[in-house]
Structure formats: structure tokens, C-alpha cells
């Protein structure tokens, strides 16, 4: 798999990030000096249609900043983001609004990402309402169908988010993200707050959705253990740059960069720890 396709090849690519940089200028309170934090430095990325790219790194490595730049919640300092042949950074307000429907984010903590005052149905239908798609009855029907697709029963439509378990809330967040028929789903640590058994269920759901809808995923995580199940390619980030990329199997078997090696060594495994030497 070519890590760096040329522009000619890029029809297979849904997202192409070229030379993207983002820096924040910060000032200490009551002090004159200022300093620059380079969150992203010249990042190049390609995400292919219908595939999954896993972006792995520790906190503070710039993974989430990249995700926020992709949906233009942050304005990059320099660089280009091409989405489906269009430069996202040159879009005007109206075009950007339409483009945002194509890229949806799912966050780590579903409890914080869902409005506690709305019912499950209202949450899933909200993107349709905001974007003004369809009449209220159609929106309702669509939301109910989406809930069923992610494995939530229709009769739960009037429940509030607090009445769901963590895994069910994440399913609800996925249903909401799917409402606008996006092409790209950004999963920003979407699994790390969940129990192992629930993580497995959500991974299977994401795989099904990808197969049935041809979705493209950007899976952002600090945990390599689910990457082989979910991703076709991996990019390892550290300090705002991509230090290694390859296939999940290749990265797990032969990590090249020291940071990748540390990440592989930290994967929780049943055999990783020697059994303790007898009780004290």
C-alpha cells in the first residue's frame, strides 16, 4: 500500500491532508513574554474511501487537534485539507455547513456529548433539524430507523441519555453521527471510556456499518489493542508529527520508531506480565 499517493492517484483518497500545521500562541497571565505551542507540524495524511486509518499517539501528540482541524473547529495555521476533491480550507460559510454534514465526529465520553435534557429520539433527529432536512415526521421515522440500525430498540426513543448504559450511549452518538449520511466518521477516542466487552460490541457495529454503508473512518486512539480489528492502516503521532505509518499487523510485529515500540509494549495482553512469584 502506497503511503504517499500522488495527486493523480488521489481519486481513491477521500481525505488528503498536506503539510498541515497548527500552532497556538500563548501568553502567561500578567507576563509580557509569549510562546508558541506547535500542536501540528507539517502533517501529511491520506485516508482512502471505505477504509479506516488509525491515528495512534499519547495525549498531547496532536491527534485531536488534527481531528478538530478536519472539521474546521480549529483553523490550521498553514497547509491544505482536501476532502473529496475540494479544499476544505477555502470553503465559505454556506459550503462549509454542507460539507460538515459529510464529516461527523464521535467523542470519547458519550455522557458529555449528549444533551441530558433531550430524549434519545430528539438527539438522533437533531442534526436533521439543524440542517433542515425533511419534515418533522420524516425526521422522526429516520431517527427511529437509525436507532434500530445501531442496536437500540424503538421503544427506548423517549428515554433520556442518563437511562442508557455507557455502551448504549455510544451507540446513540453513532446513530446521531449517521443521521446526515456522512462519508467520513472521526472516532476521537470513541472506545476508550468503555468496558472491554462493550468495546468489542461497538467495534463489531462499526465494522458492520462500514461494510453496509461504505463509510470511511479516522480512528484516533492511544490504545493499539483494537487497531488490528478496526483499521487498514496506522499512523503513529508524536509531538505533532507522524513518526511512523504502516499496516496494523506490520506495526505490531515490527515497530520501527521508539515511540511505536513503547506503544506496542503497552498493549494490555494476558501474557504480558509474568505471573507473580508466589504470595508474600
Amino acid at each position: 500500500m502506497a503511503a504517499e499517493p500522488t495527486f493523480a492517484e488521489s481519486s481513491a483518497a477521500l481525505v488528503r491532508v498536506a503539510n498541515l500545521s497548527k500552532s497556538y500562541v500563548q501568553r502567561r497571565w500578567l507576563s509580557r513574554g509569549q510562546f508558541t505551542v506547535r500542536a501540528l507540524e507539517a502533517v501529511d495524511l491520506v485516508i482512502f474511501r471505505g477504509r479506516t486509518l488509525a491515528l495512534v499517539g499519547e495525549s498531547g501528540s496532536g491527534k485531536s487537534t488534527l481531528a478538530r482541524c478536519l472539521v474546521r473547529l480549529e483553523e490550521p495555521t498553514s497547509g491544505e485539507i482536501w476532502f473529496d476533491g475540494r479544499n476544505l480550507l477555502s470553503l465559505g460559510r454556506v459550503e462549509l455547513r454542507a460539507a460538515r454534514g459529510q464529516i461527523q465526529l464521535i467523542f470519547q465520553d458519550p455522557a458529555a456529548a449528549l444533551n441530558p435534557h433531550l430524549t434519545a429520539l430528539e438527539i438522533v433527529a437533531e442534526p436533521l433539524v439543524v440542517q433542515g432536512r425533511g419534515r418533522p415526521r420524516e425526521q422522526r421515522e429516520r431517527a427511529l430507523a437509525l436507532m434500530e440500525q445501531v442496536g437500540l430498540a424503538r421503544q427506548w426513543a423517549s428515554r433520556s441519555p442518563a437511562e442508557f448504559s455507557g455502551g448504549q450511549r455510544q451507540r446513540l452518538a453513532i446513530a446521531r453521527a449517521l443521521a446526515l449520511e456522512p462519508r467520513l466518521l472521526i472516532l476521537d477516542e470513541a472506545l476508550s471510556a468503555l468496558d472491554l466487552s462493550v468495546q468489542a460490541q461497538i467495534v463489531n457495529l462499526l465494522l458492520e456499518l462500514q461494510a453496509s454503508r461504505g463509510l470511511t473512518y479516522l480512528y484516533i486512539t492511544h490504545d493499539l489493542s483494537l487497531v488490528p480489528h478496526l483499521a487498514d492502516e496506522v499512523a503513529v503521532m508524536q509531538g505533532g508529527t507522524i513518526v511512523e505509518r504502516g499496516t496494523p499487523a506490520g506495526l505490531l510485529r515490527r515497530p520501527q520508531h521508539p515511540h511505536s515500540r513503547a506503544l506496542v509494549a503497552a498493549v494490555p495482553l494476558l501474557q504480558a506480565y509474568a505471573p507473580p512469584q508466589g504470595a508474600a
Binding site: 499519547e58 468496558d195 472491554l196 495482553l269 508466589g278
Partner: protein, 390 residues
């Protein structure tokens, strides 16, 4: 308000104090750790020896026998309008001094409730309705609140899940650790600070003076977790309860914290009760595992035996979700993961038979009608499942 902003006036005060010496006198300077004579673990070892001479009878009794003995413990929650929720329903287990025991299970199975009940720190509405908790020979449920206060943090301490919330945002790390020692041991503040410095030096290999003087917001998540561990170990408890101590941390930091806990357990001889949903976290830290489901212990046994040959279908399901080795993890080329279907049951609406029956892949006819009894298929193992004659 974000924590950083919350602490700003205090930072300003200390900056001001640097310029104005009269104020500076009120801010105690951290002890110079580079000039401290005793190396880390030696300091602790010698101190335990002194304690042993001072009270030889009590020490030996604690060290030899069972440290914690929980019998038929049941915790019910009374919600404002709804029914009584039996979160923990009649669990029994023992813990020997210096031993590591893990509680494994999904969220909502009563693991954290058990941990909190041991310290009688249940949230409002929670009540221990029956059972006994004997800790080094005395029943904690009979103890009055003053006695409990002396036990918590000194003999049994708890490491919380969220180090960001468990630490006080406007107190320096040094003061927060010293406070624990001061509350339990008394003595001069200066002496407490020195002991706090030793406790911190236990968990940090470098940069200790800076961390000693820092506020929690100036530390990373892993450093905060280390401070919590230092707090928990400061009074040399006999038992440390750790409730998902690595849940909010990066994987690499998680591995470091687990290694630190393992080292503390081995070198200080502290018993550890570790609560987790991930079987891999328990491996290497605990010798025995209790598997909890719907407020019951469904399987118990030595970790190695359980991990090699799990008996209960629930345990089998939990263990299947962790890859055994890097090589096997690498072979999963976008394949589906084995799952336990469904969710843990709502403890207020449990099925009539075995609570795991609706999710079980190996159910028998009898599973619907009644709950399995506990059976002991092997020495030191017990399981609640009809497959083994329950």
C-alpha cells in the same frame, strides 16, 4: 470554571511571595530531597522494623492471618421513588496479608460498590443490609465513625479512578500528602512534610522537588495518579484498594502505573484489592481473581488457573476479549471480535433464574427456573454455574 483558572490566585500569591520575603516566610519551603540521606525503600524497611519492636504481638497477628474476611455482604440502594436496588448480594471472600486479589467484571456488576462498602464510603442511598467485614480481627461494620476514620487511609486506603478529581485543586501536592500523615499520625507539620517527601520519592524516580511544590493542575495525569498512590501509601496501610487506577490514562502511562503498583506491593508487602474490567490489568498484580456479575461472585480462584481454564461462561467471555499475545493481536485483519451479547442486567430487575442466563451461550433448561448454588469443582476454586453441578 477550569481548574487552571481556579488555581490562578494561588499561583499569583506564590509569585508575590517570592518577591516579598515576609509573606515568603509563611510558605514552607519543600525539604531538599537531594540532601536526604536515606534511600527510598530502605527508609521504609527500617521503619517497619522499628514498628515491629514497638508492638510485636499485633504485627505478627496481622502478618500471618487473614487480613480481610468478608462474609455474606449485601449492599442495597434505596432510590428516591423506585424500588430497592440490590447492588451487591451476599458476597464472601478472604484476603491474606500481602496478597493481591482482583475483582473482575463489567460496569454495573457491583465491583466499585464492593470496594466502597469495605470502607463504608457508600454514596447516599446505599446501605449495607447484612453481612460482616472483619479487618485484622475486628468487625468494621460494628466500628463507630471515629474508629472508621482512623482505619481509612491509615490501615486501608483507596486509590480512586479519577486522579484529577480526587486531588484538591488549590493545595500543593506536598500539603495534600502531609495532611494524610498529619491526620493519622499527628506530630509536627515539619516531620509530616519530611515523611510526605519520602512517600513521594517512593513513587517518583526524578523531578521530585518540583512535584513536591506543584499544584495538581501543573502535573500530568500519570503524575497525579502517582501522587494519589503516594497518599495511599503514606501511612503504610496493610491493604490498598485500587478502583480502576488506570482507567483515564494513556496506555504507556498505564503500564508504568501498574509496574509501580506491583513494585510497591512486592517491596512493602501491602495487600492489594484491585478492581478492573480488563483481565490484562489484573495479570501480574494479583494472585487471585474474583469474577463479579450482577452483584454476585460467580467465579473465584487463582489467577493462573482462571486465565488458563475459566469455568464460568461469563469469565470465558471476558477473557476472550483480550488478545493473549502481540502476535495474535496482529493476526486480526479487520475481523469481528468475540463478544458477550447484551448488557449486564439492571440489578433492580434480575431474571428469576441465573442472572447470566439471558446472555449465556451454554444455557441449560434449569438455568431459567432457579439460581445456581456455589460449588467447588477444585481446591481453592468456586463457581456458580449449573454446568458444574450448581
Amino acid at each position: 470554571m477550569r481548574r487552571e483558572e481556579y488555581a490562578r490566585p494561588f499561583r499569583l500569591f506564590h509569585r508575590f511571595a517570592r518577591v516579598c520575603p515576609r509573606v515568603a516566610n509563611r510558605v514552607p519551603a519543600p525539604p531538599d530531597l537531594t540532601r536526604m540521606t536515606y534511600p527510598l525503600f530502605q527508609a521504609i524497611d527500617t521503619e517497619t522494623a522499628v514498628d515491629r519492636d514497638a508492638a510485636p504481638r499485633e504485627r505478627t497477628r496481622v502478618a500471618r492471618g487473614t487480613l480481610l474476611e468478608v462474609r455474606d455482604l449485601a449492599v442495597h440502594f434505596q432510590t428516591s421513588a423506585g424500588p430497592v436496588v440490590p447492588a451487591v448480594e451476599g458476597i464472601s471472600f478472604d484476603l491474606v496479608a500481602g496478597e493481591g486479589v482482583g475483582i473482575l467484571g463489567e460496569s454495573g456488576c457491583g465491583k466499585s460498590t464492593t470496594a466502597l462498602a469495605l470502607l463504608r464510603l457508600l454514596p447516599p442511598g446505599g446501605r449495607i443490609v447484612r453481612g460482616s467485614i472483619r479487618f485484622s480481627g475486628r468487625d468494621l461494620l460494628m466500628a463507630d465513625e471515629r474508629e472508621m476514620e482512623k482505619t481509612r487511609g491509615a490501615q486501608i486506603s483507596l486509590i480512586f479512578q479519577e486522579p484529577g478529581i480526587a486531588l484538591h485543586p488549590t493545595m500543593r501536592v506536598s500539603d495534600q500528602v502531609s495532611e494524610v500523615i498529619h491526620a493519622h499520625r499527628g506530630g509536627s507539620w515539619k516531620r509530616c512534610r519530611e515523611e510526605a517527601a519520602v512517600a513521594l520519592a517512593l513513587v517518583f524516580s526524578r523531578d521530585t522537588p518540583r512535584i513536591f511544590a506543584a499544584y495538581p493542575h501543573e502535573l500530568s495525569g500519570g503524575q497525579r495518579q502517582r501522587v494519589l498512590i503516594a497518599q495511599a501509601l503514606a501511612c503504610r496501610p496493610a491493604l490498598v484498594i485500587a478502583d480502576e487506577p488506570t482507567a483515564s490514562l494513556d496506555m504507556t502511562i498505564q503500564a508504568e502505573i501498574l509496574a509501580l503498583l506491583r513494585e510497591c506491593k512486592q517491596r512493602l508487602g501491602i495487600a492489594l484489592l484491585l478492581v478492573s474490567h480488563n483481565p490484562a490489568i489484573l495479570a501480574g498484580l494479583t494472585e487471585r481473581v474474583l469474577v463479579m456479575y450482577a452483584g454476585r461472585i460467580v467465579e473465584e480462584g487463582p489467577l493462573e488457573q482462571i486465565y488458563r481454564e475459566p469455568l464460568h461462561p461469563y469469565t470465558q467471555g471476558l477473557l476472550r476479549s483480550v488478545p493473549p499475545s502481540v502476535e495474535e493481536a496482529a493476526q486480526a485483519l479487520k475481523t469481528r471480535l468475540p463478544v458477550i451479547p447484551g448488557n449486564p442486567p439492571d440489578p433492580a430487575r434480575l431474571p428469576a433464574g441465573c442472572p447470566f442466563e439471558p446472555r449465556c451461550t451454554e444455557r441449560l433448561a434449569v438455568c431459567v427456573s432457579r439460581e445456581p448454588r456455589e460449588v467447588r469443582p477444585e481446591v481453592a476454586r468456586r463457581v456458580r454455574c449449573f454446568k458444574y453441578g450448581g
